[in-house]
Subunit: 406 residues, 2 copies
C-alpha cells in the first residue's frame, strides 16, 4: 500500500515552488512536487552486501525513485518503490534514438551517523542543462533534490561506513514515447537508483596510463561533449578496448590537428608545469563546448584558486610556493616537451567516481610520455587538493559544499 | 504454449551455418540459430488499424521477435511473442550510456499476395558494422533475416495493400548489462518490431525545405556518423526544433568552415548540376566517415550509373541526355552559385522512409537558396530514379533487389 510521506512537512514550500514555476513557465503543466510523493516499501529487504566485495555500480539498494512526465500534464506522482525492472515499450525513444541523460553524485555516512551529499545543487543544475540540449523536459532541481534526499534516507543503512566508501547516486532521465519517429517525446521517465561503492583505489593511489587518442573523437565543436548525455559514452567503449589492448587504461581524447588535450570521458584533466621562477602552473582545458563541466573539476579549480589567493591553505603545499591556476588550451606537444625538459610536475584526472586520479604515462604517437608521481602515487598539487577535497566530502573538514541530509 | 516452428525445414541449413560460424569465430558461443525459434502466439489479436489514419511509427503489429545474448553463452533462444513491454533493469547499459543500434527496412504486399523485402542483406550487413562500432555482439545476418522473415509472415495480414503502403521493419539491438560501469556489456537484447505505414507523401510529392546548419554538428571526423547508432539521432532533435521555428522542415548538416554538404540525418543528399555541354551531373557526398551508407543512397547511385552506362534506361529520362554520376565533396557555395546561375537542376534526399524527397529551399547564412522542382514536385533525375526504384520495391518492375518472403 502506498503511504504519502513528506506531505505535511513540505506542503508550504512546495506550494511556494509551484507558484514560482507557474509564473516562470506560464504553463499549467505541473513541475516535480515532493508533496505528492508515494512510498511503496519493499516487502522483503535484500541482505546488505559484503562491503569488501563491492564492485563499482553492480549492487543496488532496496528502493528506487521514479517520476513520470507527460507532455500534456507535466511531471506526475513521484514514487519511492522497490528496486526492480522498468516496463518499457519496445518502441520507446530511448531504446532507438539514445534519448537519455544522467548524473552521478555520492552520499557519505560519517562516524557520527550524519549523511551528506557533496555539492548536489551543481548536479541538479547540470541535469537541467543536459535535458534541454536533448529535448527532454526540465524540472525544479530543488524539488528533485528533496526527493533524492528522501530516497537516500530510506536506504541510508546501505551506505558503507568503511573509509573511502560511499553511496553512488544515479539520477537518469529517459524519453519513453511509444513511437519510432525522431522528435521531442510526449512521455519521459526520471528515475534514481543507489549503489553502495568502495574506494576507487582500495590499496592506495595507483596511477593510470592513458592512450593519447587521435583516430577517434569523443566530442567536436557544435556537438554534445559539454553535456552529460548517454550519447557521449557508448561510442567510447570500442576505442577504450583498443587502448586496453595496447596496455593503456583509458583514452585521452585529443582534439584537432594540434592534438589539444580535452578530457578522459569519465574525468577532466589537469596538468602541473614548473615555471622558470620555480612556481607551479595548474592548467586545465577551458570549457569550450567539448568538455564536461565536472563538479570535481570546478572544486579542484576553486580550491587551487583560493589557495593561490591566500584564502585557504591547502594541506601539504609548501608555503611560499607560487601557484598559478589557468584554464587554457594545452597541446600534447607542450606536455611532451615539458616532460622531456623536466618541467612537467604531474598530470591528473578529476571525477566523481575516483575524485582524483594521477596519471603516470601517456602513449602518444608511438612513444610513452612518462609523468612524475610521488611515492604515494600522487604529485604535490593533486595530493594537497585531494586531501582537502576528500576531507570536505567525508566530513573531516567542515564545508558548505557538504550538505547534511540525515 | 511455445511451439517450435521452422525446425524441420531449417535444420540442415542452420547446422551448416553453425559449423561455418564455429570456424570463423573459433569460439563455442552460439550464433543466432533459427532452428531454436519458439513461437508464443498472441491470445487475442488486436484489431487491424484504419489504413487511412496510420501515422509513421505509431502502430505496431501483434508480435515481436526477441533474441537475448549473453557474453558466456552467445545468442540464446529466438522468440516470436506478443508485442509488449520489455522488462529492463534500471541499471542497464542502454538506459545510461546509449548503447543501441537499429535498422529500418520495408516489407511490401503485392496485388498477387506475395510479400517482399527490399535489399534486406544490406541492412543485415550494416547492422553488424554498427554493432562492432559500439561494442555490441555481432551475428549471422542470414540467420537473423530468416527469423525476421518468419516474423513478417506471422503478421503479414497487417501489411496494408493500398498504394504506397508498407510494413516498416525495425530491428534494434541494445546493451542490457545490469551494471552502471562503462564497458562492453555482458548481456544484450536484439528485438524486431513491425509497424504498418502509409506513403510518406499521401497527396503526391511535396518538396521539403532544409535549414543549412552550421551551429550544431551531427557527426565529425573520427565520430560515429557512418554507423546507424542511436547516438546519432537524439542530439539532432533540438536543432530540428530550432530549424522548425524558422520555418524549415529539417537540418541540412554542413561540415567544416567550407560548409560541405553531409546529410539530413534521416536522408542522404543528392544534387543535380547542369554542365556546360547541357548534360547533367548527379552528385552525392562521398562516404567519408561522417555520412550514413544508406541503402536507398546505394540504390540511387547504382540505378543512375547503370543508366549512364547504357545498361538500363531510367523511365522518363530523355534519351541522348548525358548523365554523369559522381561521389565528391560539395560545398554550399557551389550549390548557391549554381542556383544563382541557373545551373542547379534539382536537389533531393534519399532514405527508407520517404524513398525520394525533393527539396525546394535551403536556408543558408540568412538567405534562401531556391531550388527548381517540376509541376509534380520532382525534378527530371529524381522522378526517373523514383519511378524505377518504387517500381522495383512494389513489384511493378521485376528485380533481384526485391526478395520474396511469402
Amino acid at each position: 500500500m502506498a503511504t504519502s510521506i513528506l506531505r505535511s512537512s513540505l506542503r508550504l514550500s512546495s506550494n511556494t515552488r509551484n507558484a514560482t514555476v507557474y509564473f516562470r513557465s506560464m504553463s499549467s503543466q505541473r513541475d516535480i512536487d515532493p508533496s505528492r510523493l508515494e512510498f511503496h516499501p519493499i516487502a522483503t529487504p535484500k541482505p546488505l552486501p559484503e562491503v569488501s566485495k563491492l564492485k563499482f555500480g553492480h549492487t543496488f539498494t532496496d528502493h528506487m525513485l521514479t517520476i513520470p512526465w507527460a507532455q500534456e500534464s507535466g511531471w506526475g506522482v513521484p514514487k519511492i518503490q522497490p528496486y526492480g525492472p522498468l516496463a518499457l515499450d519496445p518502441s520507446c525513444t530511448v531504446l532507438h534514438y539514445a534519448q537519455t541523460i544522467f548524473e552521478g553524485m555520492k552520499a557519505y555516512r560519517h562516524d557520527d551517523g550524519r549523511v551528506t551529499l557533496f555539492r548536489p545543487d551543481m548536479n541538479m543544475k547540470r541535469m537541467n542543462t543536459s535535458a534541454k540540449r536533448i529535448a527532454l523536459p526540465t524540472f525544479d532541481g530543488t524539488a528533485l533534490l528533496e526527493l533524492i534526499k528522501q530516497l537516500i534516507r530510506t536506504d541510508k543503512h546501505w551506505i558503507p561506513t568503511a573509509p573511502g566508501h560511499s553511496l553512488y547516486v544515479r539520477p537518469t532521465l529517459i524519453g519513453t514515447q511509444k513511437a519510432i519517429g525522431v522528435g521531442p517525446p510526449n512521455e519521459a521517465l526520471l528515475f534514481v537508483i543507489l549503489s553502495p561503492v568502495g574506494p576507487y583505489y582500495p590499496d592506495g593511489f595507483k596511477p593510470v596510463s592513458l592512450f593519447g587518442t587521435t583516430e577517434y573523437v569523443r566530442a567536436a565543436p557544435g556537438g554534445t561533449g559539454a553535456y552529460k548525455l548517454g550519447v557521449n559514452y557508448a561510442p567510447g567503449i570500442l576505442p577504450q578496448k583498443e587502448a586496453a589492448k595496447q596496455g593503456y587504461a583509458q583514452n585521452l581524447w585529443l582534439h584537432g590537428p594540434e592534438h589539444y588535450l580535452t578530457e578522459v570521458g569519465t574525468m577532466n584533466m589537469f596538468v602541473v608545469f614548473r615555471k622558470e621562477n620555480g612556481g607551479l602552473e595548474l592548467v586545465t582545458p577551458p570549457l569550450d563546448g567539448m568538455i564536461l563541466p565536472g563538479v570535481t573539476r570546478d572544486s579542484v579549480l576553486t580550491l587551487a584558486r583560493e589557495h593561490a589567493q591566500g584564502k585557504i591553505a591547502l594541506p601539504g603545499l609548501p608555503t611560499g610556493l607560487e601557484l598559478t591556476v589557468t584554464e587554457r588550451p594545452v597541446k600534447m606537444s607542450e606536455v611532451r616537451d615539458a616532460a622531456k625538459e623536466g618541467r612537467l610536475v604531474e598530470l591528473f584526472g578529476s571525477g566523481t567516481a575516483a575524485v582524483i586520479s594521477p596519471v603516470d604515462k601517456i602513449g602518444y604517437l608511438g612513444e610513452d610520455i612518462l609523468i612524475p608521481t610521488g611515492e604515494d602515487g600522487m604529485g604535490p598539487v593533486s595530493r594537497a587538493v585531494w586531501t582537502e577535497l576528500s576531507g570536505r566530502q567525508t566530513g573531516v573538514i567542515e564545508s558548505d559544499w557538504s550538505v547534511v541530509i540525515a
